[in-house]
């Protein structure tokens, strides 16, 4: 099982690397889809079956499809644009910031200090019970935040003229 984990991890890593370095936007997104599927496999191997299924259905299936939908409409010009943007100079800032994180992860692994700052491990069931128990108002407020988005989208998509609707 550990071999499977490392293979999936390697696929995730390589695919994510190609997402960043690929100049073709749609190809980069396809690599991102591969990375998400590999991530779902890792979740599955770690015992989080439900999270694995949701990862594919929501991220792999729905959100990435929307991304591709938008990027598809960019047309062939986007490749040239991306090439002109991806100069070595643009890599410096993100690389330095990523190196800091890499250092932190390396330190954690080396120190063998896995306990989170709060001092207790969180489980999914615990998270769900807390979310729908004491913090229910927060969840409801967040969902109400989505409602203005929905209404806004409806407003933008509304027909302005009074032409007779055909459906």
């Amino acid at each position: 099982m550990e071999v499977l984990f490392y293979i999936a991890a390697a696929v995730t890593f390589l695919a994510t690397l190609r997402v960043i370095t690929h100049v073709h936007p749609v190809h980069a997104l396809l690599y991102l889809v591969v990375a998400l599927i590999a991530l779902a496999l890792i979740f599955y191997l770690l015992g989080a079956q439900f999270a694995a299924a949701l990862e594919i259905i929501i991220y792999g299936g729905a959100i990435m499809v929307l991304f591709i939908f938008v990027v598809m409409l960019l047309g062939p010009l986007a490749v040239e644009q991306e090439k002109s943007w991806l100069t070595p100079g643009t890599w410096v800032g993100p690389s330095v910031l990523a190196l800091v994180l890499l250092g932190e992860v390396g330190y954690l692994i080396a120190a063998g200090d896995y306990l989170p700052i709060s001092g207790m491990e969180t489980r999914q069931k615990g998270v769900s019970i807390v979310l729908y128990g004491p913090y229910i108002i927060g969840v409801e407020l967040a969902s109400m935040l989505l409602l203005p988005g929905l209404i806004g989208a409806y407003h933008l998509g509304r027909r302005l003229s009074k032409e007779p609707r055909s459906c």
Partner: protein, 318 residues
């Protein structure tokens, strides 16, 4: 320890059976369409024309396999494989009879949804990689249609999951020993079946490949066996939709007298023929009608169904 020989045999039978059935359906569909529309259909090759698929296959293999120079080659080539792979992967969780299933996952229903959402890529990417306007229009339609109907599919399937109290498809079938879920979940069944037709892009929801307006939609540029893969993939998803409908709402392998496998195959065949009958008799929707029907009719019904089912389940638990 997993019994490898048993697993391998099950995989062989289910995958081989599904592919054979998909091949056979090409002939069955054309013949039935012919009979219902008062013409003969293919009746020349073999008795009653039943070897028509074989002749089609020879023809399609010997055709020139052409990749248009303006297409995005790598993506263009892998797309037909995605159709067939995702459809075949879904068969892994389909329980045909007790313990006659490749992988009895606890997340069976979720796995099916995940695979059907990945199947959307074949349509979308295929249309984009072809780099032609008809294919592109087809895939634009497909995205809107698949994304919307995926939501309803998941929502209407959850009613059956709630009643059975499990995502495991074998458990869902077992829970229908005394009463099929189609009775308490009739709305769920309607929603699921409609969403399934839309996911498989079958008539009346086959706008992505409407031949009257879009040549052949997202697979206009495909030829030879690559087109054949799209074709087989479509029939595989028809079989899968019938199988899932039987499992979720029509008691799976349960039935008197006959052995479980026979019942499963008979029920599945009924739905396959029903889907072909729908194609033979129904006109195609207009695209805006499809979307507004989905969001304004199916969506509220599915949500209300889910709410009522959840309420009843909670009330029964006391």
């Amino acid at each position: 320890m997993i019994d490898w020989s048993h697993t391998a045999l099950t995989i062989g039978i289910i995958l081989g059976g599904a592919l054979m059935l998909a091949g056979l359906l090409i002939w069955v569909e054309r013949r039935l369409l012919g009979i219902w529309q008062e013409r003969y259909g293919p009746n020349r090759v073999g008795p009653g024309g039943c070897l028509q698929s074989l002749a089609d296959m020879i023809k399609i293999f010997t055709k020139e396999d052409w990749i248009p120079p303006f297409a995005d080659k790598a993506v263009f080539v892998i797309t037909p494989a995605i159709v067939v792979i995702t459809a075949l992967m879904s068969f892994a969780v389909v329980p045909i009879a007790p313990s006659f299933v490749i992988a009895d996952l606890n997340m069976g229903a979720m796995f099916f949804l995940a695979m059907s959402s990945l199947a959307a890529y074949s349509v979308i990417i295929g249309g984009w990689a072809s780099n032609s306007k008809f294919a592109f229009l087809g895939s634009l339609r497909a995205i809107a249609q698949l994304l919307s109907y995926e939501v309803f599919m998941g929502l209407s399937l959850m009613g059956a999951v709630l009643l059975a109290g499990s995502f495991n498809l074998s458990d869902i079938v077992e829970a229908q020993r005394h009463q099929w879920f189609v009775i308490p979940q009739f709305l769920g069944f309607l929603g699921f079946f409609m969403a399934g037709l839309a996911e498989a892009h079958r008539t009346p929801f086959d706008m992505p490949e409407a031949e009257a307006e879009l040549v052949a939609g997202y697979h206009s540029e495909y030829s030879g066996m690559k087109f054949g893969m799209f074709f087989v993939g479509e029939y595989l998803s028809v079989i899968l939709l019938s199988a899932m409908t039987v499992i979720l709402f029509f008691g799976g392998w349960h039935g008197p007298w006959l052995p479980p496998v026979m019942w499963f195959v008979l029920k599945m065949a009924f739905f396959i023929v029903l889907i072909i009958l729908i194609r033979a008799t129904w006109p195609r929707f207009r695209f805006d009608q499809l979307l507004s029907f989905g969001w304004k009719v199916v969506m509220p019904l599915a949500l209300m169904n889910l709410l009522a089912t959840g309420g009843v389940v909670l009330w029964k638990q006391g």
